[in-house]
């Protein structure tokens, strides 16, 4: 029955799952080969029936502890990245980083900390209108994307950060944003508006 196991995929189901070591090797190969993070689901699909990628990832992560590269979590996915302390031997690999404008950086931070957030909300927080180019740039960098429409009049679109954003800033999830808890505790992430109206409305109303 086993002599044709490499041919007939159905036959795999009657075979025992590969050993944990073998599964770890598979996850290792998958993560090494990919430049972008790979979800557990996708690993599962690629590995033989009966494999447990999660367990293999954990084992692999332990194995790479303290090595030149490491296993990192990115949202629901995993990736291998070089150790941050070794950047000095890698600077040559840097592919010209674009300098982000202050507007872009602030907008990105607002999306990350306030997501899902509408353009109007970003503008209220920054006190200036958000230029189209800024949003386009962040979308182009794949750091933000459209979220669900807000169920308010006009059904405005919202923006959220992406997994690519998490990957870029070495974040396991958006919950790991620096200082998030403190900002929330201070009420600075509340969608607070001027009682009665927001500031800009107040101006037009009062004049």
């Amino acid at each position: 029955m086993t002599q044709h196991s490499d041919i007939d995929p159905d036959a795999a189901s009657v075979l025992p799952a590969p050993s944990p070591d073998e599964q770890e090797r598979m996850v290792e190969a998958i993560l090494f080969a990919a430049q972008a993070p790979v979800s557990v689901q996708e690993m599962q699909e690629r590995m033989p029936v009966g494999c447990d990628p999660r367990m293999a990832i954990d084992a692999l992560a332990r194995r790479y502890q303290g090595r030149g590269v490491g296993v990192v979590r990115v949202g629901e996915a995993w990736a291998i990245r070089t150790a941050p302390d070794l950047s000095f031997v890698l600077q040559k690999e840097t592919v010209e980083q674009r300098k982000l404008s202050r507007a872009a950086i602030e907008t990105l931070a607002i999306v990350a900390y306030h997501q899902p957030v509408t353009r109007a909300e970003i503008e209220e927080i920054r006190g200036v209108s958000v230029s189209r180019g800024t949003v386009d740039l962040l979308m182009e960098l794949k750091w933000i994307r459209l979220g669900r429409r807000r169920m308010t009049p006009g059904r405005p679109v919202t923006f959220v950060v992406t997994e690519h954003f998490l990957d870029h800033f070495s974040l396991e999830s958006a919950r790991d944003l620096p200082g998030l808890a403190e900002l929330r505790a201070a009420g600075l992430l509340d969608g607070r508006k001027l009682p009665g109206a927001d500031a800009s409305d107040a101006v037009t109303q009062d004049e």
Partner: protein, 270 residues
Amino acid sequence: MMSDRDPSGLTSAPDQEASARKVADRLAAEALIVDVDGFEGPLDVLLMLSRTQKVDLRKVSVLQLAEQYLSFVTKAKALRIELAADYLVMAAWLAFLKSKLLLPPDPQAEGPSAEEMAEHLAFQLERLEAMRGAAAQLMARDQLGRDTFARGISEEVTRTKKVTYDASLLDLMQAYARVRTRDEFRPYAFDRRNLFTPEQALDRLRAMIAFAGDWTDLESYLPDGWTENPEKRRSATAATFAASLELVKQGQIQIQQTDTFAPISIRKSR
């Protein structure tokens, strides 16, 4: 910062006797004015001005801030610097807020109180400051392509289309039978066995038309044995129709169809 510490004004010649401190102040004030384009709107200016109060943003004196801002706008105007409309809108709003803050509250007035407005402005400033701090922290994190690196050579996952070929035992046997009996095949010739020719149909119709006094469905003239097999039926129907047209042309029969796709019927000419 914009205050009256330098009565000579921003346009005065540099004062050689002035203390270094005063020069620095004036330079900062000048920079503030001249770099107005560097500000990201009135809120940004307000945040900058509020820092001069050197207090917790929650305890900032909005009244003092309003005065500082109004002075900033006045000096900008004096320097003939074009201020964007929103700077002026903010100035007007702050002037209004200032007057509200100074006057005893009007119990008749609708909308938020001066205190609420001031508090909200302080909140906005604090929030903007917080987001700037957050942005700075974010950018200070290990960044991919700067501090950490992804795999350089992508051994891209190849999306292969795996084609599995299937064949049944029946296919196999039929294939063999086909090969082994090929000699029995005669050379290709048009297969006429299911073909009813117009000539045949014409002969048949001529013989029958003598009895067709009333409108009769053309289909009833199809020969026996040609109505079951669809292929034969098609051939017989086409041939019979062609034959009927020929007979119409000869004036022997009449033909009619009541509607598109309705049955075609014929009868003997009278």
